[in-house]
Symmetry: C2
Subunit: 432 residues, 2 copies
């Protein structure tokens, strides 16, 4: 892989430049370690705003940032664009499509992938939204469906093309449903005056009895109310059974005819080959409360991919697979590495500090749960925007995203309605 | 194609939403004609800035604008996203992938495509830059070449990956050469400190004895000087013979080893099937000085695709294939249509008013030829930016492009170094 071996420095290899991996790569001391960061993309993706790329609100350049630009010219740091095939843990070597690499320490921060719970039909026909190419594909799908619907006289077929079923009522599902409903409200009447907008239907299907499982019941109810007002049909306690590309089948003989199922119903850890059954729990890599994998003291896992055995048992299913635990875990590991505590006994265990969570439903509508207060409506929306804006990597991304949001706010519009890549009905063709 | 027939209105079909077609579609009076605009994309492309998309300066959303957004809700106007297969001129019908359509008047504004002058090897291995997907592909190519060069130890192979040969010294070739040279100067040292930037070479090959054939000799010399200063190797009087993907062969046994040939050496009219040899001249549709095709009084051609028989013989090879003649021809046709002059005798012939031309070479460097004055350097560069900015369609695109330019100016940087779509060495796979 063409990386020089430094005699006096141990090598830390980080796989994945998401929220957690990026923290570590940025902050590990180069005078104590040689740092190698590997990712399959040359950019970091700000996943919380992917739904805006999918719904023509932002271009990728606002929410993605070149990794080489984030971590500029520093000694003893190397970035490599590569796919990791498997890890030879015994020999401390990773095998990638651009060669092998020995590590002293390995940090796995590969994030998560869409979980279809074993249903191959849904995996084949439904659309995921976990990466920028997938979000761009979704954008093309929505816009091309409108174009196709114009050409169809059969009213059933027209409705099928204009029906969007979002499965999964977590933050992603709620935000996506709200954004598509706003496309119906603001974009459709202007761009497609000859399309009957009554043919467009948006469904949000949630398996549990409420939306936003990770948030308070007040926020869940508020999101439910706001989505209803935007015209979204919400089905709770609703288990999806199958989808054949035309009809989505739900328990109790219910079904919806639709050409568009968007799957935000689950994720699982993106586990690299080389681990065994006993290293894995709940589809994530099992780590102790120092974030070390159980069997290998020099292999760590952080972020979505890690299932941390937590001392307090507040999170019996593992920490939420969101940005805040990932960032905190990255920082925890950096501290331990930089202070050479990694193999010391009696170091403090990692503990997640929950600072709150939030979701936006649409224009002027959001919900925020903070430890001491719950907010909704315009104020929550402003806070949501502010938090997401300052979380974006890089001054330029913030300015471009903010400019887009301001223009859209005053124009009641989605700016980037461009079908640039051909969309793929069959997901296999999408580059991930 | 699902377009209603209006009893009292004749139907004008416009094929192509480039500079000329868009003028007509925007301005034709809907109370006098039913207007149908057809394009293979749902957006208008501002081609003069494509090279900035290719060199990581801008995202597509700055230079592309949704056609449905440009022409909002107007009566008797229809846009259709379609590929035209052929024109049945005898029966006044166009055949597309989404059905047939009868026309009373047909306006062909299909623009131009890359001309490889019959060389199939070059067509297969060289990269064109005439569309947004092609420009994005070029961006991925450049960035992925840098990533690949990092992994190579063989110095010849490293140089081959980092050598960029631009064929064609017109404005596109000059602007692209300058922008790639600036990537070498500003991006490479920061993003790829472990790459020897001396391995990167940029060549500009021009068949004629000077650059910028359409501009003054002073401007050509200035561009030559500026490119030299930026480290571009320029070969004039240089005829390319062949390219096999690894070596480009030039007359007199010269050759360059390179993995990257970018072809900006020629364009030809994008002529739709249905015309015969006698309708075509210089690879363009022959039109009289009223822009009517010679054989069919109700079929017009404007913009790059049209070869206009001009009264004054100032342009013996046809008007330049650039935006100004296209826009002026569009407006000329609009005037004649809206005033019902189309079939009147004694209407004024079209005459192109040349308001000047310009090209940018890089930061603070441009050349402008106006009828009464020639400019260069910083002032020319400011004028170039201003003219391009106000020519962009839509307030939002101007703001986003300007914001990007300002940030880049102060950061000495190219902002969007994201490899988002996989690039294709073999062009066949690129969506056009």
């Amino acid at each position: 892989m063409n990386i020089p071996t430094e005699k006096n420095l141990e090598r830390v290899v980080i796989i994945g430049a998401g929220f957690s991996g990026l923290q570590v790569a940025k902050k590990l001391r180069r005078d104590k370690y040689q740092v190698v960061l590997i990712d399959k993309n040359n950019y970091h993706t700000f996943q919380p705003l992917l739904y805006q790329v999918a719904t023509a609100g932002l271009e990728p350049d606002s929410i993605a940032h070149s990794i080489r630009n984030i971590i500029k010219k520093t000694k003893n740091f190397f970035f490599r664009l590569a796919n990791v095939n498997f890890i030879d843990i015994k020999n401390q070597k990773i095998h990638t499509n651009i060669g092998d690499l020995f590590y002293n320490y390995l940090i796995i921060s590969t994030g998560s992938i869409t979980n279809y719970f074993g249903n191959k039909n849904i995996e084949f026909y439904a659309f995921p939204m976990k990466s920028i190419p997938e979000a761009l594909n979704l954008r093309s799908l929505i816009l091309q469906d409108f174009e196709s619907a114009l050409l169809v006289n059969n009213i059933e077929e027209k409705k099928r093309l204009m029906t969007f079923v979002i499965v999964g009522g977590g933050p992603t599902g709620v935000e996506l449903a709200g954004a598509i409903a706003e496309m119906k409200k603001y974009v459709l009447p202007n761009d497609y005056p000859d399309l009957d907008h009554k043919c467009m239907n948006i469904y949000l299907l949630q398996a549990s009895p409420r939306l936003l499982d990770g948030m308070s019941i007040e926020s869940a109810n508020q999101a439910y109310k706001n989505l209803k007002e935007l015209g979204v049909t919400i089905w709770l306690d609703c288990l999806v059974k199958d989808y054949n590309g035309k009809i989505i089948f739900i328990e109790n003989n219910k079904y919806i005819e639709t050409a568009n199922v968007i799957w935000t119903a689950g994720v699982k850890g993106a586990i690299i080959n080389g681990f065994t059954e006993k290293d894995i729990k709940n589809n994530r890599l099992l780590v102790n409360n120092r974030l070390q994998t159980i069997a290998y003291k020099n292999v760590f896992a952080i972020g979505d991919v890690a299932y941390c055995i937590e001392t307090n048992n507040i999170y019996p299913n593992g920490y939420p697979m969101t940005a805040p635990p990932a960032i905190q875990q990255g920082n925890y590991l950096v501290y331990n590495f930089n202070n050479l505590l990694i193999n010391k006994k009696n170091i403090k265990p990692f503990r997640f500090k929950n600072l709150g969570s939030m979701a936006t439903i649409g224009r002027n509508k959001a919900v925020c749960d903070f430890p001491f207060i719950k907010l909704k409506g315009f104020l929550a929306w402003i806070i949501w925007m502010f938090v997401h804006l300052v979380s974006l990597v890089g001054f330029r991304n913030r300015i471009i995203a903010l400019t887009n949001w301001i223009i859209q706010y005053f124009h009641y519009n989605k700016s980037v309605r461009l079908i640039i890549r051909p969309f793929y009905r069959k997901k296999k063709s999408v580059n991930k």
